[in-house]
C-alpha cells in the first residue's frame, strides 16, 4: 500500500479544492440555454391567488412563467387568448361565456380541463378563501360546463371582469393536484400549465425553472431560467457587472447609464404601468380649490424628470398613463408658477404669507421618491406654499390611508397593469374605496354610475370626463409615469413589458 506524506496529502487536498471549484464553475455555465436573472423581490408564496404576494405586481413575471392566466396579455398591455381562447357576455349582460383551450397539460402530465377553470374561479370568489380580489370573482356564479364551453350567471355586472382575468390573482390552478396536495403540499411542489416548471426553490435564495416541453404556446427559447432573489440594489448592480447574472431590473438610473454602455452589456428603459402621484386629502388647506390648483401648477414635472430621473419618466396630468384605456391627451394641467401665485393670492397667500401643510412620503421605496418631494417642496416655496416633509414607512402609509388619516398631501405610487380606469382613477378617487383619500359627494356622484356601465364606449368616455373634472378641481396631483430600467448581457434579447418586469418566456438568444 502506498503511503502518502503530509506534503503530498496537502497537495492532493489543494488540487481537489481547485478541481472542485472548476467543476462548480462549469456546472454554473454548463448549459448555454440558461438565463440568470438577479431579481429585485423575493417570492414569498407559490399560490398566485391568495395572500399579500398575490397582489404584488413585481412578482407576476415569476407567476406568469409557471402558471397561465385565464386571459393572456401582450407586453403592450393588449389582451390575447390564454387558457381561455374566447370569452364574452351575453347581450343582456346576464351571463358570461368562455371557451377553454384544448390539449393543454399540467406540469405533472395530467390533462387540463374546463373543470380546472371553474374550480379556480369558484375558489377565487369565496369571501373567506384568502383571495384579495374575491370581490371581483364573486360577481359570477352558477357555472355550467359543456365540453370546453363554460357559462355562468352574472351576480352583478362588472365591466372589468375579463380584464382582471389577465391581472392579479387571475390564474388557473390545478384542481385535482391542489386537492390532493393541500395548500402546504402545493407550496412545496407547485405545478401550473405555464412555459416553465419549478425545478428547485430555495426560499429567499433562488428559484430554478425548467422549460415545459409540452407548453401549448411552444417551448421557450431558454431551457433553464434562474431567478436569484437580490433585493439589495448594490448587490444587483454587482451581479450584472461581475457577470454572475445575465439580467437585472430596477437599478438606479445613474448605474443604468453607466452600465448600459459597458462592453458586453445592454440596457433598455421603457414606461411601465406604475405612476407617481400626490394624494390630496380633503382636510385643512386642501379644501381651498385655489391652494390645490396652485400646488399642481407650481410643479415643473419635466424638470423633475430631466434632473432627478435623468429623463427616464413621463410627466402625466391624470391618473391615466398614455397606454391606458381612458387616457386623454387633451387634459392638461401645465406648469405655470405665475398662475400658481395668482391662485394663492386670490386666497390671501403668497411667499410672505405662505399656506402651510404637511406632505408625507416614503424614502427609497421608489426611485428618488424623497428627492422628488424635496424638489416639489422647493418649487412650492417659491410661489407661497410652505410644506413640511414627513417621512414614513409604506406600512404606515397603508394604515393611515385605510383610516383616512393621511396628511393633506401624501406621495404614493399606483400600478395598473390592465390599464382600466376603474383600477386607477376608480379605486384611487372613489370615496367608498378603502384606498381613496379624496372623499367628496360631487366626485363620488360622477364615478358611482360608471361602475356598472354596460356600454363600453360610454364607460370609457365617462371616466375621461371624471379625469377632466378631477384635473379642473385639483383633487389629486399626478406626477410621472415610471420607467423600468433593465440591464442585460448582449447575448440575450429582452422584451420589455409595460405590465411589469420582463418575462423569461419572451426572451431569446441575442
Amino acid at each position: 500500500m502506498t503511503e502518502l506524506s503530509r506534503r503530498q496529502l496537502m497537495q492532493l487536498g489543494a488540487a481537489g479544492v481547485l478541481l472542485g471549484n472548476g467543476l462548480a464553475i462549469r456546472a454554473a455555465h454548463a448549459e448555454g440555454d440558461t438565463v440568470t436573472i438577479a431579481y429585485n423581490v423575493n417570492l414569498p408564496s407559490w399560490d398566485p391567488t391568495t395572500g399579500l404576494s398575490a397582489v404584488n405586481p413585481t412578482i407576476q413575471s415569476i407567476y406568469r412563467s409557471v402558471f397561465d392566466q385565464f386571459i393572456g396579455q401582450k407586453p403592450s398591455l393588449e389582451f390575447q387568448p390564454g387558457l381561455l381562447t374566447e370569452w364574452g357576455w351575453t347581450d343582456d349582460r346576464k351571463q358570461v361565456w368562455m371557451t377553454v383551450r384544448e390539449g393543454v397539460k399540467w406540469h405533472d402530465g395530467s390533462p387540463f380541463s374546463a373543470g380546472d377553470v371553474v374550480w379556480s374561479l369558484e375558489r377565487a370568489g369565496k369571501q373567506d378563501g384568502g383571495n384579495p380580489i374575491s370581490f371581483i370573482w364573486s360577481k359570477i356564479a352558477n357555472f355550467r360546463i359543456d365540453g370546453n364551453k363554460i357559462t355562468a350567471d352574472v351576480v352583478a355586472f362588472e365591466p372589468t371582469l375579463f380584464k382582471w382575468m389577465a391581472f392579479l390573482t387571475g390564474y388557473v390552478m390545478p384542481k385535482a393536484y391542489f386537492e390532493k396536495m393541500g395548500a402546504e403540499g402545493f407550496e412545496a411542489k407547485p405545478i401550473g400549465t405555464g412555459p416553465y416548471m419549478v425545478d428547485q426553490f430555495e426560499r429567499n435564495g433562488f428559484v430554478r425553472l425548467k422549460a415545459n416541453p409540452d407548453y401549448w404556446g411552444g417551448k421557450p427559447a431558454f431551457g433553464t431560467v434562474i431567478y436569484k432573489f437580490v433585493p439589495d440594489v448594490t448587490s444587483r448592480v454587482a451581479e450584472i457587472e461581475s457577470g454572475s447574472s445575465d439580467i437585472t431590473v430596477d437599478v438606479p438610473f445613474e448605474e443604468f447609464d453607466r452600465l448600459k454602455d459597458k462592453e458586453g452589456l445592454a440596457g433598455v428603459s421603457t414606461p411601465v404601468s406604475d405612476i407617481g402621484m400626490i394624494f390630496l386629502n380633503n382636510i385643512d388647506a386642501m379644501n381651498d380649490k385655489n391652494v390645490r390648483l396652485a400646488a399642481h401648477h407650481a410643479i415643473d414635472k419635466q424638470a423633475i424628470v430631466d434632473k432627478l430621473l435623468r429623463g427616464y419618466a413621463t410627466p402625466i396630468d391624470t391618473l391615466e398613463a398614455p397606454q391606458y384605456a381612458a387616457f386623454d391627451a387633451s387634459i392638461k394641467v401645465g406648469y405655470d408658477a405665475d398662475k400658481a401665485r395668482e391662485l394663492l393670492k386670490a386666497s390671501g397667500f403668497g411667499p410672505d404669507n405662505p399656506v402651510k401643510f404637511k406632505i408625507q412620503t416614503t424614502r427609497g421605496l421608489k426611485p428618488k421618491d424623497y428627492e422628488m418631494v424635496q424638489a416639489i417642496v422647493g418649487m412650492w416655496r417659491k410661489v407661497g406654499i410652505e410644506a413640511e416633509i414627513e417621512v414614513y414607512e409604506i406600512a404606515k402609509h397603508y394604515e393611515l390611508r385605510a383610516a383616512d388619516q393621511l396628511a393633506p398631501a401624501a406621495f404614493y405610487n399606483w400600478g395598473n397593469a390592465i390599464g382600466d380606469p376603474t383600477t386607477s382613477t376608480g379605486f384611487a378617487m372613489f370615496g367608498p374605496s378603502p384606498h381613496s383619500v379624496w372623499n367628496t359627494d360631487d366626485l363620488d356622484g360622477m364615478i358611482g354610475p360608471l361602475w356598472g356601465e354596460t356600454d363600453e364606449t360610454k364607460r370609457i368616455e365617462g371616466w375621461k370626463a371624471v379625469d377632466r373634472y378631477i384635473a379642473q378641481e385639483g383633487y389629486v396631483i399626478p406626477l410621472i409615469q415610471y420607467q423600468q430600467p433593465i440591464l442585460f448581457k448582449k447575448t440575450i434579447k429582452v422584451v420589455p413589458n409595460i405590465a411589469g418586469s420582463p418575462e423569461p418566456a419572451q426572451m431569446t438568444a441575442g
Partner: protein
C-alpha cells in the same frame, strides 16, 4: 458544575424569555403600520376589514391575544405567517441553519484572525509594527460591518470578481440534501464541490461580520497577554530557556484566553444580531434576511417568532458562556 447552578441559570433564562415575549408582543402592536391595512383589497367594504381583523385575531384585546399566543407557543405552535402563509416554526427551522452556519463560520474567522493579531502584536510589542497592527485593528473596529460588506461587494465581487456576492449556493448545482445544514451535511456526505461552493458564498458575509469581532478579540486578548507577559512565571520560563514563541503560545495565550473567551461569547450574540443587515446585503437566505421582510410586511406572528428565536439564541449562548466560565473558574460556580 452543581445542579443548583444549572437550575438557577435555567430559571433566569425562562424569566428573560418571558420578558422578551411580552416586550416584542406589545411592541409590534404599538409601532405604526398594521398588516390588515396592507391586505385590504381595492373593493373591500368595512365589513371585509372587520372580518380580516377577526381572521388574524387582531380584534381581541391585546392581553387576550397574548394569552392565546403564549398558550400556542407552549405547545410549540408559533402561529401562521401572514405574508408567507406557512407555519412560523417551520419557516424559521428552514432558515435558521443558514444563519447558524454563517454565524459560526464568522466566529471561527474572527477567533483565528483576532488571535493572530494578538499574538503578532504581543510578539512585536514596543516596535513600530505593533503600532501599525494596533492602528489597523482600530480601523477594523471603527468601520461598521455594513460598510465592510459593501466594500467587499465592490472589490471582491465586481472589481476582482472572484467571489459570489449573493445567495447561499450556486443555483445550477444539483444536490439532494436532507437538512438545511448545507455545510455540515455536504461534508458528511462527501459533496465537496458543493461544500466549496457554499463556502465561497459564505466568505464575504462571514468576513463582513467577523472583522469587527476579530478586532475586539485581538484587542482584549493582546491586553490580557501583555498583562501576563510581565508575570513572574513568564520570567521563570525565560530563565528555563523556553523560546519566545513557546512562551507566547504555551504560557501567555493559555492564561490570557479566559477573559477573551467570555468576551467572545457575549460578542457572538451581537454577531448573530448583525446577520440582519449582512444577510440583506448579500441576499443570504437566513433568518436575518427573513426578519427584514417580516417587518416590512408587518407580519406579526413571524416577527414574534423571529425575535423569540433570536432571544433564545442569545440566552443559550450566554448560558454556555456562563457554564464554560464556571468550569474554568471554580469561584464562579458559587457566585
Amino acid at each position: 458544575m452543581s445542579l443548583k447552578f444549572v437550575f438557577s441559570r435555567t430559571i433566569s433564562a425562562c424569566i428573560t424569555l418571558l420578558g422578551v415575549m411580552i416586550v416584542v408582543f406589545v411592541l409590534v402592536r404599538v409601532v405604526p403600520g398594521n398588516p390588515i391595512a396592507m391586505m385590504i383589497a381595492p373593493g373591500a367594504s368595512e365589513a371585509d376589514v372587520v372580518a380580516l381583523r377577526a381572521r388574524y385575531g387582531l380584534d381581541l384585546p391585546i392581553y387576550h391575544q397574548f394569552s392565546l399566543w403564549f398558550a400556542q407557543v407552549l405547545h410549540g405552535n408559533f402561529g401562521t405567517s401572514i405574508s408567507l402563509k406557512q407555519n412560523v416554526l417551520t419557516i424559521i427551522m428552514q432558515r435558521l441553519p443558514a444563519t447558524l452556519e454563517l454565524a459560526v463560520f464568522a466566529l471561527c474567522l474572527a477567533v483565528v484572525w483576532g488571535t493572530m493579531v494578538a499574538l503578532v502584536s504581543t510578539a512585536l510589542r514596543n516596535t513600530w509594527y505593533e503600532r501599525i497592527i494596533d492602528s489597523f485593528n482600530g480601523m477594523m473596529l471603527a468601520v461598521p460591518d455594513f460598510i465592510w460588506g459593501l466594500t467587499f461587494v465592490l472589490v471582491l465581487g465586481v472589481l476582482l470578481p472572484i467571489l459570489p456576492v449573493s445567495g447561499r449556493s450556486d443555483p445550477s448545482i444539483d444536490v439532494d440534501l436532507l437538512t438545511q445544514f448545507y455545510l455540515i451535511e455536504g461534508v458528511l456526505r462527501g459533496h465537496f464541490i458543493f461544500v466549496w461552493d457554499v463556502l465561497k458564498h459564505m466568505i464575504l458575509p462571514a468576513l463582513t461580520m467577523a472583522l469587527p469581532l476579530a478586532a475586539v478579540i485581538g484587542r482584549v486578548l493582546k491586553n490580557a497577554m501583555m498583562d501576563v507577559m510581565v508575570q513572574d512565571y513568564i520570567l521563570l520560563a525565560r530563565i528555563k530557556g523556553l523560546s519566545n514563541l513557546r512562551i507566547l503560545l504555551q504560557e501567555a495565550l493559555r492564561n490570557a484566553a479566559v477573559p477573551a473567551l467570555a468576551l467572545t461569547g457575549v460578542q457572538f450574540t451581537f454577531l448573530i444580531g448583525g446577520t440582519v443587515i449582512t444577510e440583506k446585503i448579500f441576499s443570504y437566505p437566513g433568518i436575518g434576511n427573513l426578519a427584514i421582510d417580516a417587518v416590512i410586511y408587518r407580519d406579526l406572528p413571524l416577527i414574534q417568532g423571529l425575535v423569540l428565536t433570536f432571544g433564545a439564541m442569545f440566552i443559550l449562548v450566554n448560558m454556555l458562556v456562563d457554564a464554560s466560565s464556571a468550569l474554568l473558574n471554580p469561584r464562579l460556580r458559587h457566585a
